[in-house]
């Protein structure tokens, strides 16, 4: 399809494992965002890319979280040494704009850390 694609849709990890979540944005979209949504909460900003440049990573909760978008298209969110509090849905969104405008969200990757 032509929308934002995320994989895997569901991931179960044992505490201490590393995980990688992939986002394939809409082709040509300049901006890419990662959000974390805990149960019963709204999405919380993690990081923002404009093309391949990571312009804001102020929302990453710890240095165990790392995101990249090396060629300005596909992005990967990596979480090292996962902990139970990392359990959440990780949403990726893209936008054709570099400022305010509609974000197009993927379906999310639900991470459960046991």
């Amino acid at each position: 399809g032509a929308g934002v694609s995320q994989s895997p849709r569901y991931k179960v990890a044992k505490r201490g494992q590393d995980v990688a979540l992939r986002c394939d944005p809409i082709s040509g979209h300049v901006s890419l965002f990662w959000y974390q949504q805990a149960l019963g909460q709204g999405p919380e900003f993690l990081t923002y890319f404009q093309n391949e440049a990571q312009l804001d990573k102020s929302g990453l909760p710890s240095d165990r979280f790392f995101a990249e978008r090396p060629e300005g298209s596909v992005s990967t969110l990596k979480i090292q040494r996962t902990q139970q509090e990392d359990s959440a849905v990780y949403l990726c969104a893209s936008s054709p704009l570099i400022s305010a405008g509609e974000l197009f969200f993927g379906e999310g990757s639900r991470l459960t850390v046991l």
């Binding site: 965002f33 923002y48 305010a100 405008g101 197009f104 969200f105 379906e107």
Partner: protein, 114 residues
């Protein structure tokens, strides 16, 4: 500190009647607001937006009202339909948060009764 608040976690409305979803914000520098709808196991989808230079924006059955002095916005759905049953999030951007960083509320679950 919750900068965007949706104080009603849930709302039930009869089919055909008006649904009013409310959102309050604390940062007077926010200048762009959006409403998203989310079905279970899907990513949020954009509904409607409004910039701070307007006090009303309408799109079909959906109207968003912005009261800057009260730092309050509301989403009106008229007439409500069973397919509108979903979780609705408001989001805001602007000021020191940046034009790209959206701050989301915690959501209101709307149930439209047939």
């Amino acid at each position: 500190d919750q900068q965007v608040k949706q104080n009603s976690p849930s709302l039930s409305v009869q089919e055909g009647r008006i649904s009013i979803l409310n959102c309050d914000y604390t940062n007077s520098m926010f200048d762009y607001f959006l409403w998203y709808k989310k079905y279970p196991a899907e990513g949020p989808t954009f509904l409607i937006s409004i910039s701070s230079i307007k006090d009303k924006n309408e799109d079909g059955r959906f109207t968003v009202f912005l009261n800057k002095s009260a730092k309050h916005l509301s989403l009106h759905i008229v007439p409500s339909q069973p397919g509108d049953s979903a979780v609705y999030f408001c989001a805001a951007s602007g000021g020191t948060s940046g034009t790209y960083k959206y701050i989301f509320g915690t959501g209101t679950r709307l149930k439209v009764l047939a």
